[in-house]
Each structure stands twice: as C-alpha cells, then as structure tokens.
Symmetry: C2
Subunit: 461 residues, 2 copies
C-alpha cells in the first residue's frame, strides 16, 4: 500500500523531494550510460516528482532518459506532466507504449491522456488498445472537452437504498478488484440507477451494521449532468466543500463520479487561464517551444498595435500644438499611463469577481459607482502631484492645471471602463479575462491623449 | 444527515440555487417586516448560498436582515463569507454572538474567524468564550498566519499501530461525539504520538476486521510541520493528490490535520493574490469599501507615477528633435507600448511558473534564451508592419527604419526583462507577482523612448 518517498521532518522551503541537483545527477548517469544508477535515483520518486524531473529537462535531454526508462516509466507520471511536455513525451514514447500506459490508468486519467492527443496519434493509440478499453475511452471522448462527462471516472461505488451498512461493508470487502483506488462517498441509487443519496465514508464507518444506508445518506445529493462545464464543477466543489459528486446522463442515470483531486487541477487551470488572459499571453507556458509561443502571443500584440496606432493618430491631431509647446509631448504619456494603470487595477478585480460569480446584475451598479468614486479620489491625488511637478518643471501653472484635469478625467474613465467593459463582454458571452485589456487600453490611451492635448489646444495656445 | 438544497437536473449555467431575484424577494420581505417570509426564503440555503446572499447586499441593506436573523444565522455562513463582508457582518453581530458562533465551528474555522478580527475585537470575542475553547483558539493563534498550524483542525482520528481494522471501526462507532464531522484518513501513531502511517477510509472499509492497520497503512506519510507555509501545503496536496495530511509540532507529535477543502480555498487565494499582484490592485476586492480600495491602490499608482516621470524625462532629452520632427512625438508611444505588452506576456508566464515551482535554477537559462528568441521574432514581425505604416504615414523611409529597429530592440529587452526581473526578485525573496510589473514598465518605457528618439537624433536630424 505504501509508496516510499522522502519524509519531511524539518520545516522545508519546498516539498519537492527532488532538487536541481538530483536532475543533474540523473543526467550525468544517463550520459555515463549507467541505467542502474538512473533507476536507483528515480525509483523512489512519486509520479509527480518524476514528472517534475522530466519537465526540468529540454526535449533533447529527455530523449535518452526516456529511451532508458521506457517500460519502467510509471503511467501515472504522464498524468502529472504539464501538457506541452506530455505531448513531447508521448511523441517520444510511441503509440504502443502509450496504449499500454493508458490501460493501467483510472478511466478519467486515460481519457485525459488520450483526449489531448492529435487526431492521428489518437487513432494510433486507440488502435493499439484492447477493444473493451477502447470502447470505454471512445465513449468518454464523445463528451465535450472541459465537461463533467470528460472529467469523471467510471470506477465508483454504488449501492441500492435498501442495503444496510453491514451489507455495504461486506460488498466492499469482497469486490476489492472492481473498486476505484480512491473513493470518499458511497452513492446510493434507486432501481433505475438514479442517485438518491450519498454516504460519506466517514459516516459509513461510524454507523452500526444494521442501520440502512437510506437512513444515514445525505439525500438530495448534488448530481452533475455530463454536460456541466468544468468551471461550474469547480464552483460547486469549492462552495459546498465536496470531495466527490456523482455524474448523471441525460436520463438522470449514474454514469460516473468526479473527485476533488481533479477539481484542484481545474481550479488551478482556471486561475492560470485568467492570469494569462489578462496578460494576453495566450495558452503558451514555459514548456512551450518558440513556435508555439510566438503563435500564442503575436496575435495579441497585433491587436494591441491597432490600439497603439489609434492612440498615435490622436496625438497626430495635435501636431501643431506640440510644435509650439514640446512639453506636451513630454507629459502626454503620463496621462495615458496613469489611466492604464488605474484601469488595470479595476479590471483585475472585476474579472476575478465575474469568474467567481461574486459580481452579478444585483451588485453591478453598486460596484461601478464605487469604482468611479475610487477613480475620482485617486485621480485628484495624482493630479495634485503631477500638476505641481509639471508646473515647476515647465514654469507654467496652466500646464499643471491642464494635466491635472486630464488625469482626473482619465482615471474616472479608466475605473468606469474597467468595470463596464468586462461586464459587457461577460453579458455577450465573451471571456472578459482575455479581451477586456485591449478595449481598456484603447479608452485610457485615446482619452488620455485627447483630453490632455485638447485642453492644451483650447487653454494654452 | 441531510441538508436540503435545490437538486440540479438540467444542464445549468450556474450551480447557485440562489439568484438575484431571491435576494430581491428577501429584501422585499425584510422591508415589509415579515420575518416569517424571510426565514422561509433562506431556511433551505446552504451556508455558502446564504453567504452569497449576504455578499450581494450593501452594508446598509444587510443590517436589517442580520437584525432579523441574528440567532438563526448558521455559524458556517461566517466561514463562507468573503473577508471584507465578514468583517462587516461580525461588526454588526457583536462579540457575544460571534463567540457563540465560534464555539459551534470546527477548530480550524473558529481560528480563521477569530484570527481575522482586529486586536480589540479579538479580545472581546475571546473574553466571551468558554475558558477551554478560548485556550484552544489562543494556542492556534500563536502560530503564524498562513501556516499549517493555523490551518489545521484539532479534531482528528488517530489510532495506535497495533490496532486491527475491527478495533478501529468499533472505536469509530462508539465515539461518534468526539469525531470530526468529515474525515478521510485514519492516522496511525506510535507510543510517542508520532504519525507512522495513514489509512484512507476507502482502504479501511474494504479490509477485513482482523487485519492490522499497520499492514494496510501508507507508511512514510507526508507530515506537515506546524510552520509549513500555506503555499507549500497547497503544492503538496496538489502534486500528491492528497485529501488530508497530519500536522506535527516541533517534536514530531501529531497536533492536527489539514483537509483538502481548506487547500482548495488556499489555491484560490494564492491565484487571486497573483492576479491582483500583477495588476497592482492590492488586497481590495469588490466588497472592499472606497477607503480600503483607495488605500490598496494609490501606493501602486504612486510607484508607477515615478516610472512615468522617468520615461517623460527621457522624452524631455529630445525636445529639440521633436520640435523639428513632430512625427517622433506621434510614434514614440507605439514603441513603448509594444514593449510593455510583450514584456507583460513574458512576465505572466514567468511569475506563474515561479509560483508553481516549475521555473528553477536548472531551466532558467533555457527559458530566458527562449524568451529572447520569441522577443526577436515578434519584434521583427511588428517592426515590419509598424515600419511600413510609419514610412507611408510620414513619407520618409528612414522614420520607418528607425521605428522598426527600436521596436526590435525594445521587444528583445522586454522579453529578457520579463524573465530576469521576476527571477531576481524571487531570489531576493521579494514576491515577483507584486513588484515585477513596475520594473518591467520602467525598462520598456525608458528603453523604448530612448532607443527610438536616440536613433532619430543620430540618423534623421
């Protein structure tokens, strides 16, 4: 039952029992062609630690290590690998080995593994699998990606509602082979295989044998239709502190179960999507190669270029004024930049609150109102400082007054846009994390330059 | 055992059984002074749904509802509330009610609740508690915030290693009152109360009564010292797919247990911290009031103002050139803006990879190298477009060539800085999520303006 791994007794700075030094030692043994040393170095590692070792290597470094380990590599390592690295490792393993690995995994992990493959690779791997396993995987792949149907595992414990605790325990003791490796709830079903309740194992073990499961079950369990999005699954688990939940098909029949370890990964993934979306970094991570990374990021830079060109054309409207007072060219970027920063602050809060369903039609107006007030107050504070500096710098109080006014106006617009843009995109079913930023920058740049240069054109020249 | 709640049978867009309409109905009943209707509307809600209802209301709207519910409010609602809202609700409840609520909660939730209070409020609440509860809470509060000691609950199931499965089950059946509400592992301890193994409940229930726990336990369990940071706890749970882990004191003795539901909240919190940090939005969320929000954001705007002023002073160096060729003032912000965007993309990837311990000393050089190549390629692509546009716009090929060269240089610098800045801050133990952005913008703004205007000064004028 026990997987050996380093026990932690001192306060650690990290729980990775693996270090860059270990990775170095493994590679040294690979280069010295000492498979025995390599195996002894990695044999104690948990799947996630082994995955980390593989991730630390470049594709070229990884090949000889995989060649050496091939049949010894624990299939669970594939599950723990980052997507980009996993793609490479799978390519390096070959279809037959991948099929063999998938057959050893829990159904949800096997589906995840095979679902991530390209169409051609997927066919090759499925062709190399046993007919029964293949059918099961293909059925799961029929569900949309990122839905409960794809996330669930088929291995579960379901019992009829007329069973007693004793009968359940006897059943569990006898059918060890068919049971999932880890489970936390027993699902109680009716004659039509519909879930009518769940019994947490913690409740089961402290109840006496003659008691009926129907009397101790949590009735009205949260049942997830196969089409439920992974975001909604994550929300439900987080809000209701669940560790597992039954999944049902269109007829309400039990078809699988989702456990909290998958949900932890989803929460992580969703947070990562929001961070990358706000930064316009696309889906490329540190393991993506140059081509993938350029492809993920260049479109966003191109979109931002349009924003920058629009902002420039606003400046171009005021070329005569700038020729007369060059200070305008020096100061204008400050107005745009402060607006962009303030808007980004608001935007991050709004995007996050939309993602967590805290920002709704009910409190949107209150939130927008607060942000406008915050924008005004921060605007006035910055306006006083910048106005003072501009006045002293260029010896002209009117420049100070004009830049101050422009900053107040731009910060109010920034905080207003930082709320209204994500709210509108969200209503239009466009992911606000990904697309809000460019609209926001357009507003703060265009408005920043226009108000400042426009006021200067009227009052200064 | 069962808490009633709306069962979900259709594919839902959200699992909140509560809607803005329900919140409206509750408030209508409050204003109509119909406590019976209010109670019937909210009596079916889970703690997290009730928390959501309270969060949707303004502080002023919330007061009459709390006055009406006071004694009926499930203490678990307090646990589910957002921090800012919880502060307000606790202030509205008064110390005696808070103390009564804390006494009903699991120890980790009670500590979380009381730990978040201000010093004065905390004293008042502790004074209103029973001596025993108070001592337990104070002991937990002695551990640093955001460590395993603060996160753990004291209620746990520990058994000696010479017990059989049957003895464990009998013990659990007899001592129902002292057991934690939810638990997933039985912790096996030696004579000195040191954890020597864990038995998952799923393993316990499928093992026959005479088998010894020592024979089925996962030995070498991950034990968390009380001082372990919450980030490290989250990493361990995520990487090793744990649902619970024992916590030990300095002598290695078992003092508590951390369960996955707390870890889910930590992962969420850490991701939120990174998002807010990158956006410079501080710790204020949508529930924070105007004062808290201004206080959270203004310092960051002030720091960014310094960056903007430095950038402006670079432009000021080239006032004579701008007077001669106003096109420079029109185009310069494009160079700075493209650099900022490209750098932010890299920065998000780097910050995230540092947070997940994927970016290490071992692969840092490879990552930096890749980013510089990506910066060059994206730079050349943008340079061709912008150079072409500038040439056509201002009818001068040299302006096109100069802005193109400046963009390539700035994008390379941006991608290099986007990696090296967070890596350096991380090495200096400064949170890269919070402070990288301002350094990055300084580089891309200063360099963008300087290279473009400098090249123009040399080759154009």
């Amino acid at each position: 039952m026990s997987e050996p791994h380093a026990q932690i007794t001192e306060t650690p700075t990290t729980f990775n029992s693996v270090t860059p030094e270990l990775v170095g030692a493994v590679m040294a043994a690979v280069h010295a062609q000492r498979p025995d040393i390599v195996r002894s170095l990695v044999s104690d590692l948990t799947p996630s630690d082994m995955a980390w070792v593989l991730e630390q290597l470049s594709e070229e470094e990884r090949q000889p290590l995989l060649d050496l380990l091939q049949t010894d590599l624990d299939p669970k390592v594939l599950v723990e690998l980052d997507d980009s690295v996993r793609d490479q490792v799978i390519g390096q393993m070959g279809p037959a080995n991948v099929a063999a690995a998938a057959a050893e995994l829990d159904s949800d992990d096997a589906v995840d593994l095979i679902g991530d493959l390209g169409a051609e690779e997927r066919e090759q791997v499925l062709a190399a699998m046993a007919a029964e396993d293949r059918a099961e995987i293909e059925q799961a792949l029929a569900y949309d990606e990122d839905t409960a149907g794809r996330l669930m595992q088929r291995e579960l414990v379901a019992v009829p509602q007329n069973w007693s605790v004793g009968e359940v325990i006897d059943y569990l003791r006898e059918s060890t082979d068919e049971l999932p490796e880890d489970f936390y709830d027993v699902i109680v079903i009716d004659g039509g295989r519909k879930p009518v309740g769940t019994v947490a194992l913690g409740t089961l073990v402290r109840t006496k044998r003659p008691v009926l499961v129907a009397d101790i079950m949590e009735d009205d369990p949260y049942t997830l239709p196969v089409g439920t999005s992974q975001e909604d699954v994550a929300h439900l688990f987080r809000d209701e502190n669940l560790v597992s939940a039954p999944v049902v098909d269109a007829d309400g029949k039990l078809v699988g179960v989702i456990t909290v370890d998958d949900v932890v990964d989803i929460i992580d993934e969703e947070a990562e999507k929001d961070i990358m979306g706000l930064a316009g970094a696309g889906q490329a991570d540190i393991y993506s190669d140059v081509k993938e990374t350029v492809r993920a990021r260049l479109p966003w830079l191109a979109v931002n270029l349009i924003t920058a060109l629009i902002a420039s054309s606003v400046i171009a409207l005021f070329q005569d004024e700038i020729k007369l007072v060059v200070a305008l060219a020096v100061l204008a970027p400050i107005v745009a930049s402060m607006g962009g920063n303030a808007g980004t602050q608001t935007l991050a809060v709004a995007v996050r609150a939309l993602a967590t369903q805290e920002l709704t039609a009910r409190n949107a107006a209150r939130f927008i109102g607060k942000e406008v007030v915050v924008g005004s107050l921060n605007g006035v504070a910055l306006a006083l400082v910048v106005g003072g500096i501009a006045w002293i710098w260029f010896g002209e109080w009117r420049i100070g007054a004009i830049i101050g006014a422009a900053i107040v106006a731009n910060l109010i617009a920034a905080c207003f846009s930082g709320t209204i843009i994500p709210l509108s995109l969200n209503r239009m079913k466009i992911d606000p994390a990904v697309s809000s930023g460019v609209f926001l920058t357009t507003v703060t740049d265009v408005l920043g330059f226009f108000v400042f240069l426009g006021l200067a054109a009227i009052f200064l020249i």
